[in-house]
């Protein structure tokens, strides 16, 4: 699975994208966030305040209880500010 990061989430993680092998225990976006947070101090800083994060599964906005079981691509980012 490909994981993408944007804006300050990308800066804290220190990478735009990562390829990961999804453990079976990871079923939802929230599980994935918890699992990613343990990868490095930068990841921990990026994921420490869940209320400031949003996610997309396969390029569609998704809530944290959405499944990631069949996803090709999951992204984490701050609330969007277009226009």
């Amino acid at each position: 699975m490909r994981v993408l990061y944007f804006a300050w989430v990308r800066e804290r993680v220190g990478a735009e994208t990562e390829e990961i092998a999804l453990p079976q225990s990871v079923r939802t976006v929230a599980d994935l966030a918890d699992w990613l947070a343990r990868r490095s101090p930068g990841h921990r800083a990026a994921f420490e305040d869940r209320n400031r994060l949003r996610a997309a599964v396969d390029q569609a906005f998704a809530p944290f209880d959405a499944s990631v079981a069949d996803a090709q691509e999951v992204a984490f980012f701050p609330p969007v500010t277009g226009g």
Partner: protein, 137 residues
């Protein structure tokens, strides 16, 4: 005619309006967003999610076309570094009558703020900060 684009280079409002005017309706409505010099901001950097952004813009334009009697909807959003006063975004709609053109245009402007994956980083003399939405999404 649905036309959405994400691009680094500037756009020409005259060209974009001309295409909407050529659709044969009685009304064209448009909006141009500019980089504001808020609180000492000298420039802005816009980041987006390639692929998802284009899909999100296309979906919102299609939704607007389904909801109002439109002949065309255009959304052009710039990304990358932008100076104060530069144009960030163009939204334009063409319709047989003004009511549909104006309402659909206003609707698209609002949805751009909440439904498309763009992020803004402001640069001031004091440093750089990511813009937080004014009302939580």
């Amino acid at each position: 005619m649905i036309a959405v684009r994400v691009q680094r280079e500037p756009f020409s409002p005259e060209t974009l309006l001309g295409r909407l005017e050529a659709l044969g309706g009685g009304a064209v409505a448009s909006f141009i967003g500019l980089v504001r010099a808020d609180d000492g901001v000298t420039h802005l950097a816009l980041e987006h999610y390639p692929g998802m952004t284009e899909r999100a813009l296309d979906a919102m334009a299609q939704d607007a076309a389904a909801r109002w009697a439109l002949l065309g909807a255009t959304v052009v959003h710039r990304v990358g570094p932008l100076n104060v006063g530069e144009r960030i975004v163009f939204v334009g709609t063409a319709a047989p009558h003004r009511h549909d053109a104006l309402e659909a245009c206003a609707h698209l402007i609002e949805r751009l703020k909440t439904d498309a994956p763009f992020w803004k980083r402001e640069t001031r003399a004091t440093g750089e900060t990511w813009v937080e939405p004014s009302s939580p999404a």
